[in-house]
Symmetry: C2
Subunit: 383 residues, 2 copies
């Protein structure tokens, strides 16, 4: 077993030591003045990261529960919902909507394809509109980032609400909640927000609050209004994951101190460095070979390597955890995350490990150049 | 502001340093071999604490979501549910069932009363049975512990399923999931399980699994079957709160190493010590003055003290956080928690602070005896 561990997945992502230290303090009571100022600050910082003047609700739950809250608060059984999907997490939107009895109109792409706003416009025209359109911003399973702004424009024009799975995109790449008129944007603590998993965040627009009044699905824990009313009083509706909120508050400070735009630029540069290294190894990126791939770089497993065995070797012998392919991509690709608390030496470490392990597994790998190329690419890109 | 902080609420409760330290380790991936053995161990230990051979499901959520999962997985709109309530958390059961469209038959007691299994039997006979009976084991708002075993016996005899809110009782006082034939027992990480809030646990019996197949409420995140299927593979259905699971695993080890029965005895002794001190101060316990009050001691605020001001003074000047009264008891009682990581000197600290603050607020308080009486009571009770 390797002595040091390198977590290089697109979520959970590594947590900065300041965040871990804040979470290791003795626990405080969520309804006491020890917690309320932190809670208030965290909620304000979230709005800044979301770039919204509206409400951002905080739930103690995985990101999927945030997605479910969108369906439960916006949609009623039998209503038509358009799901735009091109991978594992797009399918999840569809599964939740189906579980709630919605009539799901599924605009489904091949895994790895980028959804097109024109297609959405055509589909909406064809079916005569929908209650809501559900989009995945960064499809973590493939590395493809959808043009949410364009999709939202088309959907709003057709009179539909727009909800976005931004679980791996918020704080990683631009996501303009208000400027793009997004009605609900769902994220999670464990991706670009550099905090352990356990919190889901959901922004809610004015039109979404209106729609909520008519939605008939049963809901209690994930009811938006109950959580908003409590948050206004800084009195969480239910005992929140106090330590994770405290951690998130520190992480959001780090993120905002650096500046959102600088953070986005950093992720683009890490993506460029990663792709330069991957190409230098002679490997083929599966995610787009352009700056849209700022969240996660997906790479095809080369012949004759067993993709599952390769990741186990990396992890057990070299201490490097990468993410496997999901669904139809299982065993065919591996994924290198680079959002959140990552720097270029995390990328070079990943590349060095990949180089060694793949070469030993018999793949035709170019040796000794990937790390240098990655660093060069990172250095020559302006900050 | 006081320098040291003493958290003496019945949840969140203080977290042992070993648990905090485990949670401060760098984050690991939930689908990697770094996490799976911990996850497996945690699930096994939970079964031991629940005293069940059946399934215990682990949700990243507050305890309320665990309660909601019971309604969502067991009940359909229009079905009759009997809720036995005698305080704030009993009301929550009723609110959730109503939100799901159940026909709620509410066996409601005054806050502070102990529910009677005979009353339940009478009610069930009168209304001709019910799909499920929902009971609160330890009503944290009053300090009253219901006789869940007797209630379960009566309910099962009438052919109803029995679900128990054991959020503040599991690991605090005996809760025999299998021996008492409890169909669903809900708990949370942040009470007697000595872990930060963020996880809810739910045991599910064979009959409950059968009933789930017929239940028609929409559910996704809280669907029991989805979580069971994933847990069997040690592959959480959704990204769990990894750090809290790691913390819970350590806390459960501490609890089981001491032994459940020894832990229960410890809580009884702390309750005795607390009540002896409270009486020595000349105060009147609101919770029963007997060994059933092992979770939280509820005390009437004496004249002429303002209950809210008193708790703020304790907190801001002396560093001691107690819990206020809830609902109709707001301002009228205060609550001293003593489950989880508490010893007798936590009790004497609370008593010493209460003595000082209440005396200064003009209450007729017996000075200089409470700490000694509490310690004497603790010492003379056999372990």
């Amino acid at each position: 077993m390797a002595e040091k561990r390198y977590l290089m997945t697109p979520g959970p992502t590594p947590v900065p030591p300041e965040v871990l230290a804040a979470m290791a303090q003795p626990i405080v009571h969520h309804r006491s003045p020890d917690f309320k100022p932190i809670y208030a600050q965290c909620l304000e910082r979230l709005k800044e990261v979301y770039r919204t003047e509206g409400d951002v609700l905080l739930f103690t739950a995985s990101g999927t529960a945030g997605l479910e809250s969108v369906i439960g608060n916006l949609c009623s059984p039998g209503e038509r919902i358009v799901v735009v999907s091109a991978g594992y997490f797009g399918e999840r939107w569809a599964d939740i909507a189906a579980a709630y009895g919605c009539e799901v109109d599924h605009l489904r792409y091949e895994w790895g394809e980028a959804p097109s706003a024109d297609d959405l416009g055509g589909r909406l025209a064809e079916i005569g509109g929908a209650t809501a359109v559900l989009v995945t911003h960064s499809e973590t399973s493939t590395g493809v980032v959808a043009d949410v702004r364009a999709h939202a424009g088309v959907a709003k024009e057709a009179g539909a609400l727009v909800a976005v799975d931004a679980i791996s995109s918020l704080g990683a790449i631009p996501c303009e909640t208000d400027a793009w008129s997004l009605d609900a944007v769902v994220s999670g603590s464990q991706k670009a927000l550099m905090t352990p998993p356990g919190l889901s965040t959901v922004s809610v627009s004015g039109p979404a609050w209106e729609a909520r009044k008519e939605a008939r699905a049963p809901r209690f824990y994930l009811d938006w209004e109950r959580t908003r009313e409590a948050q206004v009083q800084l009195d969480a509706a239910f005992t929140p994951a106090v330590s994770i909120v405290i951690g998130l508050n520190v992480a959001l400070r780090l993120l905002l101190e650096r500046g959102l735009d600088a953070v986005f630029e950093h992720h683009i540069r890490l993506g460029r460095a990663c792709r330069a290294g991957v190409r230098a190894l002679g490997l083929e990126p599966f995610s787009p070979d352009d700056d849209s791939s700022a969240v996660v770089t997906t790479v095809r497993v080369p012949e004759p390597v067993d993709g599952t065995q390769f990741l186990l070797d990396l992890r057990d012998r070299l201490g490097i955890t990468l993410a496997p392919g999901q669904g139809p991509l299982k065993g065919k690709v591996f994924r290198i995350g680079h959002i959140g608390y990552f720097d270029v030496f995390d990328i070079t470490t990943a590349l060095a490990g990949i180089e060694l392990s793949l070469a030993e597994a018999g793949a035709d790998i170019e040796r000794g150049v990937a790390v240098t190329r990655a660093l060069e690419m990172y250095e020559r890109t302006p900050a």
